[in-house]
Point group: C2
DNA sequence: ATGGACGTTCGGCATAGTCGAAATGCGTTC
DNA sequence: GAACGCATTTCGACTATGCCGAACGTCCAT
């Protein structure tokens, strides 16, 4: 691990938490000398990865980050393959459809890479790029259940997981039990665990190597919960079809590595 | 300039040009030893800035880049201030509206940070994040004309600029003349210089320090060109209003630095 | 079965980055 | 209006860090 590169990414991550930061704030948060941070910041500045406010001297993220993120979306085959199926799903069920992938690093978050708005819902925010804790949403639980590296990620010595609402699962053991159930059924659910009044249903998507590439799911309003078998079957069919288009040999994806390391 | 951080950003930039690259390709493009690149790549991998295809071993951009880009958009006051005015402009003129900023680094590109689709145009691609050469679009010319650091950026010893269509201005001297005219009028135009059949009109937006923060412009179809005074005035009014909301002391922005260093 | 290509790992050397301290610029207070 | 204080920025020396060459393992194609 290259030290200075690691620090550079940490700086970007810090700036993505607090919108604007002074050099001193950054140095304090990374526990480094201000001059050390300055060298890295200067380099990122030259590439447009961060920008400096001309008057206050503080730093923000720069436009080059937007370019990177946009190219990532373009190169993501999961996204392009999902779009037609998401449109179909939204038309059939009348609900919004999200596609998401697991985000690396600590925290165990998922990030939405495609979003099909609810039909007839007027102007809706584009939700591509939003981040949700994995353990608190159906998409995240589908990803955690089938990703061999996902489940150990939140295995932080039994300390409670971050709570979003009163319904969020904060007990790692209980989450692990639910993930095992999701592996058997091939579908994950969410009941007001991330946002009050919002329910969800999600299914994993596999790629040509047989491992999980992402998850696709329905955003279900409270009045529609629980969903009928029609929506469930349509979602399962869409996930299977996308996986097949990506070259997956089977669906639901098989979880390799450790079949049952838990008690 | 920190060497390894600079190289890390170069790797990301290379990956944004070619969608997938092997380690050898990356090393060849950066003219470095493969093992050197590997260390940096490994670090970026751990942070999710890049991802590795499980079978081929090649590298792609990772989901963390999407998160960064999304946070950048959220923190951009230019964007949030532009949205209401862009909606109003689109409703008045019946055209799509784009807001863009100048992208740092070589090449002199602009990147779209907000996009209001043409009213009644059905499903349109979201153009946020697309990149256009600055000298080939109205938004870019508005930015170059009023950014003190913009004009010298393409001053590469008189060699011709990259051509997009037959109408693209490739002569730096001619571009400089046009930028001077834009500075006087406060509006930039574009006639099939980036995309055939597409015309454009753009105005600069200033921020509280008086310098240029971005540009807002209309995407004009061939049948609507040239636009009437109503659309021109509305665009100018929107640019002035956004600038005022950002705290700009004047509009059009004043170009400080060198008023006339050219011959 | 064998060759090649690619990603990956390891260790020594030297460069390149880190950190302290001083300098500059700016806003604020008295 | 002038001086204080904070913040970013610059500079220089030390040494820890990352760079590179070479060897290993693996996968694919022949």
């Amino acid at each position: 691990m290259i030290q200075s590169v690691d620090r550079a990414v940490r700086i970007l991550t810090a700036l993505q938490g607090a919108r604007r930061m002074g050099l001193g704030e950054l140095a304090a948060q990374l526990e480094l000398a201000p001059s050390t941070v300055h060298g890295i910041v200067r380099t990122l500045l030259d590439h447009g990865m961060i920008a400096q406010e001309r008057d206050s001297g503080r730093y923000r993220l720069g436009p080059a980050t937007l370019r990177l993120g946009n190219v990532y979306l373009d190169t993501l085959e999961l996204r392009s393959r999902s779009v037609p199926w998401a449109e179909d799903l939204a038309a059939r069920t009348g609900m919004a459809v999200r596609t998401a992938v697991l985000l690396a690093g600590p925290g165990g978050d998922v990030i939405v890479v495609a979003h099909e708005p609810r039909p007839g819902g007027g102007r809706q925010m584009n939700e591509v790029g939003i981040v949700v804790p994995a353990h608190a949403c159906a998409l995240g639980k589908a990803l955690l259940a089938f990703d061999p590296a996902g489940e150990p990620a939140f295995d932080t010595a039994g300390e409670p997981l971050r709570s979003m609402t009163g319904e969020t699962i904060t007990d790692p053991a209980r989450l692990r039990t639910e993930l095992a159930a999701i592996r058997r059924v091939g579908l994950a659910t969410e009941a007001e665990e991330a946002v009050l009044g919002e329910y969800g249903l999600a299914a994993p998507v596999a790629d040509h190597s047989g491992t999980i590439a992402g998850a696709i799911g329905l955003v279900v309003p409270q009045t529609e919960w629980p969903v009928g078998p029609g929506a469930t079957d349509a979602l399962r069919a869409a996930a299977r079809s996308i996986s097949r288009e990506l070259g997956a040999p089977s669906w639901p994806p098989v979880v390799r590595d450790r079949p049952a390391a838990s008690a």
